[in-house]
Symmetry: D2
Subunit: 441 residues, 4 copies
């Protein structure tokens, strides 16, 4: 039944991440024969797509694999008969991200792009577009898998699950693989031998068990994690959070992900971001600079591989995770990966039709999540809170209900007050007006 080759469509193909994706497909060509890769973008992104597309073609040619790169500004033409669709678009591009970050910070509120106000507005801009893409997929390539790595990946996945009847959607994030890498390092074992049980939602997961070659080493790891030295913390900064007290970690009985810094070290995170705000170096601004440099590099005609500098862009393992996922589906490998899927009882006390980020066995029929039972008591309150925030945000994104947006933001632990929730929602609505017609009916 397995096709001899696959057609992949990447929406937001002009992204600076694309070379990593290309490299990933080239590396895996033997087991994942990508016949056609369509890079799709909007007219406004023509310059970037042309640059990235040219590099992609040079990379493929140099590698000597028979992969056809097609650049397209016509999403519907591209989608026809696709086997996999990946989405990595950014509605409003980096300037919108900078607003998502700077407007909240201008009022002393964390404005990070997937949690709190920033993530909320990224959801508001992205969800209507993704729902349109799904409509096209259902018409033009109904058997394709949609692999979304546009943030907020969890909310985007849940929006599709709740507002369409399309089932073949998977949300992807690089946080879990970074956690695996960190745990492997702490235990002195190889990454490939480590698997986790995780409970939570995108950017808000906890490791609740960790296995080396299938045997639980969790208690040992938890004890180590509870007593990290300052040095450890610095060395593994992509993975370890700011230092928690031993008592907290032991009482929690679960290992937080790096994004928990925002919730458990709000003061420290806010101080750092306010400094960036002052110096014009919020994440979106830094990334804009990096991107400029990357596109400068990409345009060199002699360049025919992914430049090292891309790895500094952040989110480096994202494209690799996407390639792995596609390869495992194509080959029915049955390995464990960590993705956002319909809960379906995997976390017993979250709604069955919500998206959760959990360990799944990857098969040709998609990810099959391993049951985890009820949320461990200490993490249950917080996970429910973030899930409620996500669900309210999705409803507001679809309905354009400002009241719901204000309530959702005020209920988010990163928002310090009702008053600020109103101010920040209004300023962000105004700033992104162009992309938020649902709120301006």
């Amino acid at each position: 039944m397995k096709k001899d080759s696959v057609k992949i469509v990447t929406i937001g193909g002009g992204s600076s991440y694309t070379p990593e994706l290309i490299e990933g497909f080239i590396k895996r060509y033997d087991t994942l024969p990508v016949r056609e890769l369509w890079l799709v973008d909007i007219e406004a992104g023509r310059d970037k797509l042309e640059t990235v597309g040219a590099l992609a073609k040079r990379m493929v040619e140099k590698a000597g694999v028979p992969m056809k790169i097609v650049l397209s500004y016509d999403r519907r033409e591209a989608l026809k008969d696709a086997d996999f669709v990946t989405t990595q678009m950014r509605i409003g591009r980096l300037p919108a991200r900078i607003l998502d970050e700077r407007i909240p910070l201008s009022h002393g509120m964390i404005g990070q792009e997937t949690n709190g106000a920033g993530g909320m507005f990224k959801a508001f801009r992205t969800i209507p577009v993704i729902l349109d893409i799904v409509k096209d997929i259902q018409e033009l390539c109904p058997n394709a898998w949609l692999i979304n790595f546009t943030n907020p990946a969890g909310m985007v996945t849940e929006a599709i699950l709740r507002h369409t009847n399309f089932k073949k959607t998977i949300g992807l994030c690089n946080v879990p693989v970074n956690m695996v890498a960190g745990f492997a390092k702490m235990l002195g074992v190889e990454e490939k031998d480590v698997t986790m049980e995780i409970q939570g939602v995108n950017h808000f997961i906890f490791a609740t068990d960790v296995f080396v070659n299938g045997e639980s080493r969790f208690q040992e790891l938890l004890d180590k994690y509870a007593h990290l030295s300052a040095e450890d913390t610095i060395q593994m900064k992509n993975f370890v959070s700011l230092p928690y007290s031993p008592a907290f970690i032991e009482g929690l009985g679960a290992i937080p992900c790096p994004y928990h810094n925002y919730y458990f070290f709000t003061k420290e995170q806010l101080e750092e971001e306010l400094e960036q705000f002052k110096t014009g170096t919020v994440r979106g601004e830094v990334v804009s600079e990096t991107e400029k440099e990357l596109f400068e590099l990409y345009s060199h005609e002699e360049l025919a591989e992914k430049p090292k500098q891309l790895e500094m862009r952040g989110g480096a393992k994202y494209s690799d995770a996407a390639c792995n996922l596609i390869q495992s589906i194509y080959n029915d490998t049955g390995d464990i990966q960590y993705v956002n899927v319909r809960n379906n009882g995997t976390i017993l006390d979250l709604p069955a039709d919500s998206a959760v980020e959990v360990a799944c066995r990857i098969t040709a029929d998609g990810p099959k999540p391993l049951a985890t039972g009820e949320l461990k008591l200490p993490i249950s309150g917080y996970v429910h809170m973030i899930k409620a925030f996500e669900r309210m945000t999705i409803e507001a994104a679809v309905s354009g209900d400002r009241n719901l947006a204000v309530a959702a933001l005020n209920l988010n632990p990163l928002c310090p007050s009702d008053e600020l929730a109103n101010i920040v929602v209004d300023e962000l609505l105004e700033a992104h007006k162009e992309y938020l017609p649902q709120f301006f009916k």
Copy 2:
């Protein structure tokens, strides 16, 4: 089957609240013939009990009802054949409460007695004692109803439900009746015509529907509540929270209780408490003063009724609520009251064996909660979070696990940091060492 008369045992009988309870039983004597009222206290409270007991006897005599008041320092003797047991004891008395409040405040953390650090330590001191009382009840008066209005009333109820097999326990609070009073005022109707649907846990409930003579007036009320004038807010300060934005209330679709100030107006509440901290007027200190004055009053031999000043003590409707509840059980009235009971699916997405505070039909077989379905989405995250805090606190109270205590406190939204969670837990453990043997094994 109904007995001709009832025997009531009040544990913590030396409390300054007792005269209100006496007044309540006297007023209701026609429908609730209390034959014997045993006021029980510990030796250390002999002075207070003697004073209160003498007043109680004068009140009964003046009222001309044949109610026998018995003072006792022997709990087991008192419990024999009781029909109702009420608990209003305070382990460590008011000095312990002052520590619960001042120690957290000394580190800039809210130390209120039922939420956050203060409530946690009140639970730690109270739960082991209440579990012992339940053991005595099961032996000496197994058919009695235990009506607890010792705070934290929700946690105490859940501790009994989870750690004993005694079913006839009800937790009582005056917040719901105050909400009913406030809603009646806002709608210009009589209190007796108002009923509510509420969802939540003790000191953390939301009105999700409000009826006047059975017809829902909720949307109208919500709109009014969303647009309260500053004057309204001041006039109804026992009931209305600090002013929320219209958008938040409309987006929430539910009306918070006054205790939500602690969570939604943390900054304002903290400022006020820090001021009290400085001036030696935290609630426990104020109440200590009031109590001194009350006991001074109580000791006047000519006094034979509840003095007006008691109403300023706070929590004024507590005893009234207790009398109403006992009267409704005794007479199988079938009226609606708001109490803490085993959830049993009433709030569909909270654990069946947790305590919740909900509207119940009061019958001779106890409170029968009315199903409310799932938590309304906007309130679901927060309610889960507080429930998780409660459950962790109960487990720590029973096991004496300091790690769990630290984790529970850090996960409470009133706690600003992991570091402070550790410091405050340690200082409170040390301060209350005498009453917390489970933590010092």
Copy 3:
């Protein structure tokens, strides 16, 4: 808010039950001032409606109450501004019922009208019509309460809950009130002092607790029920099932309703029905005879009250139950009645959006079910099985899927084999073709 008077619309007004309904409204006029009662029927029922309508008018006149009786063949005209709509129609009239009973019996299968094959086909005929009625209500009298006592009342209620967004629907049955009457007799107390906790679905309920003046007398009652004499069984034949063994009842820990005879005494019930089949006296045939006689009686111009003979019609307390329900809603009485409503967690392990038959507090905002927790273990399997049968039947009624109909019937414990399920479904489809267009697309 309460209206001074109410308009009631009765669909299927030409039913022989109507005089009881009229009597009920007359009796309650002081507390339930029915200004207008519209009796609606289809043209094919004109004769019956005219006869019943004339009797109704004579009854009202004799009683001297200012209740206007309006006969109508235009449902939409009738519904305008109604306060309550009652439905008691029978699609295909009694001849259809006779087919529902005789066709299964001709193959040796019980063909009772609410369980098994008969009930399934009554659902198939009724559900599409009731969904149309709901559409009219939503347009013409959206605030009206729809009180359905057309069988199968539970499935009809669930069909409305799942396939429309209309909430104000209540299904009504006389089984629970007959159980209350029986229990009162067994305990030697008055009916009005007895309340029950029940778990189950329409025609498949179990009493799981029974209270006299609010005190549980369940264990005593269960013991009595477990040891009924043959004489008791005969005397209370409307209520007591065939005699169960003491061990079964004690092990069950719940008291079955009379309809459980079909499931627990299938052999005996089948033998009785096969005898009726041979003698032309299946229930539908008997009722046809009775109806003829009743209409003969009704047409006597001197008759101006409900004739005694109607009580032999069976289902006698139905109309009374309907009048009580309407009166309690109108007056917000808060009394306990047993109706079919959205589950909403009342029975914790049945779907929240299914209909269940449970004890409810009746208010002006409708029935508020009292939480019952999980199904008692011994009854849980059977209740789930019947609920699955109901849900499959509803889906088949809406979709016209014959396979689903066959599977549903074969899964019903009254159906002896897959082969017969196919035969009986096909014969009934053919026999009722006229009323089942959804199966003949």
Copy 4:
């Protein structure tokens, strides 16, 4: 961490199945180095154990693997430091089985050993013994895995889960692997390429999805299954049930397991068994004969391998399944096997702490079930019914409550009446009195 070699203890080692187990371990020696295999039995089984043990030793010697076979009549000595414990004992041996079958049949009731009355009494005899074994394991080899293939395997597993705190227990059955084999044949593919999603409990599972190399071929398979020829049915008699109608299978949307014959073709199955009853050839009787012949064979000193005849014993793949499971745990293979484990939300609407038989990923940390969501509607009623029967049976097995036993049996669809439930329970209690002290206190 993986040990170099493993110690396995087989309780009921004198079983005629043992040679298959030995063969299984020999075949897998390279990947599963069994250093010691202890065959444990009771004194009464000394003859059989000596015979089987001698054969086992000859088999090992011939194979030339360094596996030590130890015969023991001291369970506690044997368990010390075991890595895996398998249980295949039969309390009361085959004569008890014959009673389990013949007594119900003497009253016209199916008496099969895992469903209905026979299975119930096997549970009554086995559960107290298995709970004792678990106590020993917890003391003597707490890290061992207990792999139970004593029937009723599902109830035994649930009894351990509910009545001990031992987690490392797995129930095993050969039905799922036989279904895989049958599906592979029907689709013309290899067994190793087929995986299933199943929902249900032991001997009552339904295939709800079937994959070939990970791609769902379920609809195709369902259609084939719905239209099997009579010849197919005969050819695959170990796997295919009696022929269902196409409509039933399509409406069910799931493929039953062979044991469903008992429920869906009760009449046919009963007729067959009554014939066997008359001729003295009920299963237990046939197996007794076979066993005699097998032991005759086993005692030949020249025999040093598993005789072909054992395959006719029935349940042939049981031991193979056990070896596979142990091998996968030992090697952390991550392959899919179908075992009885704690539900934990895998089947969303069955209790979390019940045992279910589902597809699991087998790891060094045991089986990790793949979430399946809610029971498919058509199978939900029946599965709940059998689960309720199982849970009542377990409670009766532990408590010795005859009433519960009668109620459980009467609620089982194989029991035709309450009267027979009482008779059959009493006769079986009497017949097995020696092994059922809990019922004769």
